[in-house]
Amino acid sequence: MDFWSLIGIWVAAFLTLSIYSVLYRDNPFYRFAEHLFVGVSVGYGIVLSVYQGLVPFALKPLWETVTTGAPEGFIKLIPICIGLLFFARLSPRHTWLIRYPIAILIGYGSGIAIPNVLRANIFEQTRGTIAPFAEIAAGTLSGWGVVEAILMVAGVICTLTYFFFSVEHRGPVKWLSKVGIAFLMIGFGSAFGNTVMGRVALLIQRVDFLLGDWLRIIS
């Protein structure tokens, strides 16, 4: 192993232990690692923004337009100018101008997001809930498959009832929503266990690094 790799492993081990030290309490080592992490990530983010955003989407097209003289290239000035309005915040007299790019971004974001949410979260989920009943009708699904299909419909209907806000939850609505919240909690419990297993795997990776690459206790 060369000298710089060794230094890298020692630095990584020191920073790993510094971050983990917060499990005891806030301390100077954690503060140092935290500030270093935030600072380095901001610096890295700025470099990425310049090379993956500013240069390819603003400076390069503008430069090409200027050098080739293609008039259609100047259309790119519109989004560039809208983006520049964010800097209006620097001038107290012109701060109000920032509302235009914000309005455009939120409008654009909602316009992009709403159809996708409708398709993925409503259309696809509704189809997925109904589809097994076609198999039941065709006789290709039986036994536990039928039970699962019925449970799924019951779960969806009860959970949906829980999310009715303009109806008072009393009588049948109350019971349906109670069953719905039970379904939700079962789902969350399962997701909790599943994710914790994933996190334990991440911890094992770090411990493996500390004991293997750094201390060389394990091979």
């Binding site: 380095v40 901001v42 974001g109 398709r119 259309f123 109904i130 009715f164 806000f165 303009s166």
Partner: protein, 381 residues
């Protein structure tokens, strides 16, 4: 003389290949059509053909194309025998292409289909596959607009109790009494995220109360654009409450865009500033438990809300109150009690009722052997 020999050689090769093909029982792909791919930007042509019979001896297909007056060229890899369609995405708009589908046997004998008529790729203005989406959006919008007008007419609209939101005042009051700050995180989502938009709306309502109580409101942001929107919303809230002097722009700041650096930074803030109330509202990923656990360890009252279903269990386990998915979207109406937002909330409930009806009707129809609802839902792109 030379020409005659060449012709004879060509005929011999043709006879041999056709003979080989027939000896293998190889028949050319039938009903080959090439059409401009519908609902695209004109960058592809779709070629379809009939499936080969099981005993056809075909082991795969090769697609060949010809630009008008040009040479035949092979495109793509050898397609498996069950394939009946191929999308050619390597075309240029305004150029006509004709296609041949070549059936290939296991012994590499080949037989070609007839050449299709030339076809061009054209971009469409409307995506017909999105029409059901459009109609649904119109229905939802109509329901919301109707209810907004209903609410504006002075009719009182009922909203069921949401415990997580009733605790907002309690949390802000606690922070005020203790003289400590409130920490509000809008999560990791961008400005176009539905949860982030909902979170910023809740923040506006929280800011109104902190302006009233003169409580410090600290908002570390991960996205520079979200930062600007948040500053604008909080500033507006303070202005509307008549407390522009209490607004401190430095309390709403950019931390970093990196996920875990953001988590480390917010965690450090929690440990050092020990806020009395923590709001974690928006889109969260793997850092959710780190933030919620740290907030819990400093003794803050925590109100979380997200539509990230994988993070909800962690918030439920570590926070005092959790807004589950849709409750996050309902929060702004619940907190402000503005007729427009309440009407919108009831309109959304009508939308849910529509989904409810579609599921029940769909199940009944599917059990009766009628599958038009699932077919319709499947066609939506």
């Amino acid at each position: 003389m030379l020409k005659t020999i060449q012709w004879m050689a060509v005929c011999l090769v043709l006879c041999l290949s056709v003979g080989t093909a027939f000896s293998q029982g190889l028949s050319p792909p039938s009903n080959v059509t090439a059409v401009d791919t519908p609902n695209d930007d004109g960058s592809s042509i779709t070629i379809t053909w009939d499936a080969a019979a099981e005993e056809s001896g075909i082991s795969g297909y090769q697609i060949l194309r010809r630009i008008a007056g040009g040479e035949l060229e092979t495109i793509g890899d050898l397609l498996p025998v069950g394939t009946t369609a191929y999308v050619d995405s390597s075309i240029e708009q305004g150029t006509s292409y004709a296609y041949i589908v070549r059936a290939v046997s296991e012994t590499e004998a080949t037989v070609d289909s007839e050449q299709t008529a030339p076809v061009e790729g054209n971009d469409e203005w409307f995506h017909t596959g999105k029409i059901p989406l459009f109609i649904t959006m119109l229905l939802f919008s109509a329901a919301i607009v109707w209810n907004i007008y209903d609410a504006r007419s002075g009719k009182e609209l009922f909203v069921r109790r949401i415990p997580g939101l009733e605790a907002v005042d309690e949390a802000i009051g606690r922070a005020t009494e203790m003289g400590r700050s409130i920490l509000y995180s809008t999560g990791l989502g961008g400005v176009s995220g539905v949860a982030t938009i909902a979170s910023m709306t809740i923040l506006g309502q929280v800011a109104r109360r902190t302006a009233d109580y003169e409580t410090s409101l600290r908002v570390p942001c991960r996205d520079p654009i979200v930062l600007n929107v948040v500053r604008e919303m909080v500033k507006t809230a303070y202005l509307e409450e008549g407390r522009p002097d209490a607004y401190n722009e430095d309390d709403i700041f950019f931390l970093t865009e990196s996920q875990f650096a953001y988590a480390a930074g917010v965690e450090g803030m929690m440990l050092r500033e020990k806020p009395a109330a923590i709001f974690l509202q928006g889109t969260f990923y793997a850092e959710s438990l780190i933030l919620a656990e740290t907030g819990n360890s400093v003794g803050a009252i925590q109100i979380a809300g997200t539509d990230s279903e994988h993070q909800l269990p962690f918030f439920i386990a570590a926070c005092d109150y959790t807004l589950i998915g849709e409750e996050l979207y309902a929060a702004s109406a619940y907190l402000s009690r503005e007729p427009m937002l309440l009407g919108s909330l009831r309109g959304q409930d009508w939308g849910k009722l529509l989904i409810f009806a579609a599921i029940v009707l769909g199940v009944v129809l599917e059990l009766s052997g009628i599958s038009w609802i699932t077919t319709l839902l499947q066609r939506v792109r």
